[in-house]
Structures are given as C-alpha cells and as structure tokens.
Amino acid sequence: MKRLALSLALTVAMTASMAGSAAAQSHLRIGLAEDPDVLDPSLARTYVGRIVFASICDKLFDIDEKLAIVPQLALGQETSADGKTVIIKLRPNVKFHDGETFDAAAAKYSLERHLNMKGSFRKPEIAAVDTIDVVDPLTIKLNLKAPFSPLLAQLTDRAGMMVSPKASEAAGDKFGLKPVCAGPYKFVERVQQDRIVVEKFADYWDKDHVFIDKITYLPIVDATVRLANLRSGGLDLIERVLATDIKTVRDNPKLKLIKAVSLGYQGITMNLKNGPKSDTPFGKDARVRRALELAIDRDAINQVVFNGEFVPGNQWVSPQNPYYQQAFPIPKRDVAKANALLKEAGVTGPLSLDLMVPNGAEAKAVAEVIQSMAAEAGFDLKIRVTEFATSLKQAEDGAYQLFLIGWSGRSDPDGNSYSFQTCGSPQNNAGYCDKEVDAAHQEARTKSDPADRKKAYEKVAAKFLTEGSILYLYHPQVLVAHTDKVEGYKQMPDGLVRVVGIKLK
C-alpha cells in the first residue's frame, strides 16, 4: 500500500510538472465550499453560484472595496430628482460570448427577462422597475413605480447581469446549462458536483486585464480537505477557509490569506408571533429577550469557535459598515442584569426554549456555547439540530422558538434588513410587525443621500434592537487563501472571487 501510494504520488507529481511545462496555458483552480446551483442569472439563488458568475457574467454595475457602486457594463447613471427614473449609459464595443453585440436592446431584454421569466428570483429584487425604454443604442431608461434607492445596488449583483438575447431565446429555461454572457470568461463545461470550467473570452471589453487562460471551479465541501488540496498544490485558491485554520495558513510560507469583513451576519431569529410556539414569555415580553442578549458574550463565541477572527456585532451591518449605528454599541455580558430583567418580567425558574440549529459543525458549536452561557442566566436552551431543508420549512411554519440562522449579506443595508424586519415580508419568519419600523424602512428606500438613509435606519435600530425579533451575533470574515503563485488578488467584501487582474506566476 505504502509503495503503491508512493509510486502513484510520484507519477502524479510527474504528470503535473509535465503538464505545467508543456502547456503555455495558464490555469487557475479554485476550490469552492459548495456545488453551485443552475448558472442562469435569473434563476440562480446560491451564494456560491455568484462566485462563478463573477467570471462569466458581467453586470451593469459593480462594487469596490468601500462598497461604492462603480460602473461595469454601464458607463454611468443618472437618477431623476423624484427618484422615479434612472437613465443608464452603456459601455460601447462590448460583445457577448457568442459574438452578439451588447447594446440598449440587449440590456432591456436582460432586465425584462429578470422581471418576467417564470420562476425568476430577480423579480422581487427589481420589482420597482415598471417599464424599460431604449433611449438610443447605448442608453436605457428605467421607469420606476416608486423611488427605490437600493435599485443600483441590485444591479451590481445578479439582477444586473446581462445575457445574450440570441442564446437566451434559443435555450429558454435551459440557458443555465450553457450560459452566454459578457464576462471575462466563457463557459466551457460543467460536471455536476465536480467541476465548472471556463476559458478566457478573447473579445472581452477589458481583455488587457485578463491574464489567466482557463479557470476550473471545484466544489469541495469539507474545509479541511479544501485546505489540504491547496497545500498539496491541487488548488490555487480556496474560498471560505475556516477561522480555526487561519493559523495553519499563516504558518505556511507558500500560502497567503486574504481577509475582509463579510456583508452578512449570523443571528438568532426569535419567534414572536408566528404560530402557537411563539406563545411564551419570551415571545411576548421584550425584557426576556433582552435578558437572553445580556446572557450572551459575543466575544466569547468569537474566541471559542472562531479563534477570535470574526467580528462580533449587534446590528444587521458590521461595526465597520458606514450604516452601523454607533449610538447602539454591542452590549456587554451582564448576567446579574439579565436575572433582574427576568425577575421583572415575572419569569421564575429556568425558562426552557427550543433552539433550532441548521446542521453544520460550526453552527452546532456556536449553539453549544450559547446554550452554556444562557444556562447561567436561567435559560434552558434545548438544541435541535435540524437538516437545512427542514429548518427553512419549520421557520416558515413557526415550528421553532429560536432559530440560529445567518444571512450571506447584500451590499445595500436594505438587503440585510427590509425583508426581515417589515410586516409580512418573506424573510420575516418571526412575525415581527411595527408600523414605525415599516415607515422608517420606506423612508430609507426613497432617500438617496446616505446620510438621510442612515438617519432613517437609526429609527429602525432604536426599536428593532430593543424589541425586535433578531439577535445579531457576529459577522463572519470572508477568508480566502491562495498559493504564492497567485498574484494581484483583491478581496471585495461581498466575498466573491473577482478574476480580472489576477496573474499566475
């Protein structure tokens, strides 16, 4: 066995080096944490799918390191004073992978596809768009039903991805099996659960900054295995390194670690009014919920489970985000005060609560730490590890009291809050409903000046952080590691792997 393994290892090493010297083609291999879903910008919904889209489908706009919106396939935009029309100038001389020209008609087609296609997940994201006019071959005008300031942020993501009308018409809802967009790389092949291969697009509008000929995305679910592959040279870059593996990466001179605070958060959704299970002192009395928050030491969770690498937080955006409300800092753990609050609320004896936790080793560890801390303040949390599909359904049905669930994050604060906090919204599984919070959210949507929006969100924070239904815990770090062969990699806070500008030594 040993000799067989050794000789195999040798042959592998030899073939690998032969391939390296013989082929002038540069080849980047990226390890993904999950297998992406369908690669159709209208139908896709996974975070990991967005990582692959970053190389094949360009968008109208993009974000930079500071979350500012910058043009990509657009050249610029102008929003009218009443916020009800948006005029977008398009980049000239852009080609789709099938050679078709990208113009205003194609942009209109793509946006209407997002809006009208059966089962399109983009529809709710840009539902504010009423009609789209072609002003001239390189200008489109979006007519909105109502002012909607997060619209441009939506166009920096999948809703802003442009598809070739010809290819889309031909493929229909099978477009995702062979997507044709206008990104730096074109789709070559996909083997489900194994690999996605893309190759450099010769007519890319920004081709001078594309240096690698071919990229292979390999989904490898186990983080330890992903890292082992990076160390052995089987991969060049991996996403979602475990916080507990950071030291291993840093200690290895051949590896580089890139960090950026993610746009997402992890929190506990507390069932307030969704079904009979919410009928507890916990669901009814905000003081009891504050007591739970005071029982939790966010720093300790971070230290124990994430080696102190993540960012503790108490709001839907991280403390580094421009929309973080400094007036509401992270409360310190205070068991005495928690006990006092419980007493005030008339809770005697340990309060038993059901904590639903989606299956996953990290989530389980976080739950166990919380359970142990909450026990000291008189909460008896019963952890119920639930397979993910079941947990989503039970959250929807209100079959839970506490639900440990995160959000991958959006660049606009609206994307991290509106759907969770306003009355009857799709993500609001807790049944929280407050007219003032709703009004403040609407205000933030109509204002376009960031300072005005922040003020509107302050009203949301004042209510939601004291009586609301989500207990925000921490913000993960986007952790990407690559070998020293990779040069020029820059990390954006959305966690996606942007491939333009990367070189391979």
Partner: protein, 296 residues
C-alpha cells in the same frame, strides 16, 4: 424439547444427547477465546454506559472556554473538544447512545421482521409474494439512503435514529425468518403437530419459532454491530443524537474540521466505535460457531 431433537438429528458428534442445547452452546462459546473477549468488551461497554456518571471524570456537557481543543494531558486523558469538554467523559457517556442504538434498533428490527417473516414463510401464497417483493424492494435501496430519509422524516433525535435504523434493518430479518420457517415447515415434527390439529398460530410460535432462534441470534449480534456503525453515520450526518449530549458519531462529525490541529478529537471516538463493533462481531462469530450444529 423439539429443538434439541431437531438439532441433534443433524449433529452426529454431540457428546450427550440429553444436554440442553443452550447449555451446550454456552459450553462451546466459552471455549472460543475471541468470543469471550468480545463478550468481555461488550459487558465492559455496558458497564461504562450504565455507570457512566460514576466513572466519568467530568460532566460530559460542561464546557470550558479556556480549555478549548487541548491535547491529551493528566487533567484530560484524551484531551478536550471544540468547546472545552472532556473527551474521555464524552466517550463514556457516548457509550449510552451507541449501545442503546445498537440494542434498541435491532430490537425494533427483530420485532418487526420476525413476525412478518413467520407470516410470510408460514402462510405462503400471495401474502408471501407481497411481503417478499416489499423486502426485495427495501433491500434494493441503499441502506443508508433509506435510513437518512426515515431519520429526516421522523425528525432528528436519537430515538428516531434508532427507529429509522430498526425499520431499515428489518427486511434482513424478514428474509432470514422466512427462509428458516420454510425449512422448518417441512420438518417431521411440524407435520406431526399439524396432523394432531394444532392451530396455525400455535405451530408457528411453539414449533417453528424456537428452531429459528439460533440463526436469528447470530444475525442479531452482527446487526447490532452494523446498527452501531449506522447510528454513528447518522449522527455524523447530524441526524442522530442532539447536542450537547454526546454520541461517538457526532463527536467524529465535530472532529472532522480539526483533523489537522486536533487529531485526538477524531481518534478516540473512532476507536470507541471500532472496539464496540469489533466486540459484537467477535461475539456474533462465536455464537454462530457455537450454535451451528455442523460445527464441532
């Protein structure tokens, strides 16, 4: 003593024809070192499970945030886990989950499989055909897929995992019982019982069942070994024991992330599963030899 006559009829080299077959089996079993070693370890694990609170040095669910993932030491012989719990104590308490999973799920499989097998074998006809096709169908679907689907349906808990494993393991017992029943049905003593007018249920229970106990016992002890692995596999996938209560499978699940930094987290629970399964296998092997009339 129909069982004794049945056994001795096919056993030419029995020493005393009058000896109780169970006593003889036990005598034979005692001679097999492997089986006795297996029995010893099984008893040891049962003792660990029963007296866990007395034996375990620590509370198995007490976390210590200053003792996270510490290597084995004098204070923690087998090290600590990802939230600072003592691994030795968790393995001792985890024996409860694994052993009860092994015993209970095989108990479920037996109590579902044996009556159905008796029914199929004894009744014959369309009942047999129907049951046999269902059993064939269940055996054609991968064991773990069935168990995963059942466990997910019932909801995650140790009890439900046991039910899922038990139901999934039942077809083997149906098939075994049916085959043995068919064989016993044509034996003279069953024919005789039928001739004197015994009711069917009485023949099945009194005359057929005792004769198929030895192979069932062997299969059961081997199935316990399989069930322990299956419980660990389900817990490994997060469908078994609920945290913070320990089970060997869920300990392995947590350990997988730390295989490079804290390998002890993966070693010990794996060894515990290995030894428990090994001892049931040894015991099953010994039983097979001791109860098999063809062996000496």
């Amino acid at each position: 003593m129909t069982a004794a006559t049945a056994l001795s009829a096919t056993t030419p080299d029995v020493t005393t024809h009058e000896e109780n077959p169970w006593a003889r089996a036990w005598r034979r079993l005692k001679r097999r070192k492997g089986a006795m070693a297996g029995l010893f370890v099984v008893v040891l694990f049962i003792a660990l499970a029963v007296f866990a609170p007395l034996i375990a040095p620590y509370d198995p669910i007490a976390t210590s945030f200053t003792q996270v993932r510490k290597a084995p030491s004098w204070a923690h012989w087998l090290g600590t886990d990802e939230v600072g719990r003592d691994i030795l104590s968790r393995i001792i308490f985890g024996a409860r989950a694994s052993l009860s999973a092994g015993l209970v799920s095989v108990g479920i499989a037996l109590s579902a499989g044996v009556p159905l097998g008796l029914l199929a074998g004894y009744a014959g006809g369309w009942i047999d055909a129907l049951l046999s096709r269902i059993v064939d169908a269940m055996l054609a679907v991968p064991f773990l897929i069935l168990a995963i689907a059942l466990a997910a349906f019932l909801g995650p808990s140790l009890g439900n995992a046991m039910i899922a494993i038990g139901v999934t393991a039942a077809p083997v017992f149906v098939r075994l019982t049916r085959g043995q029943t068919l064989a016993a049905k044509v034996e003279d003593y069953v024919e005789a019982a039928r001739a004197v007018g015994n009711p069917h249920w009485r023949i099945a229970l009194v005359h057929v069942l005792p004769n198929i106990v030895p192979p069932l016992l062997v299969q059961a002890s081997l199935a316990i070994a399989g069930a322990i692995i299956a419980e660990a596999a389900l817990s490994f996938l997060g469908l078994g024991q609920q945290p913070p209560a320990p089970s060997w499978g869920s300990m392995l699940n947590a350990a997988q992330r730390f295989i490079a930094q804290a390998p002890w987290m993966a070693f010990w629970p794996g060894f515990a599963i290995f030894f428990a399964v090994l001892s049931f296998n040894l015991l099953g092997d010994g039983l097979r030899d001791a109860l098999d009339p063809r062996h000496k």
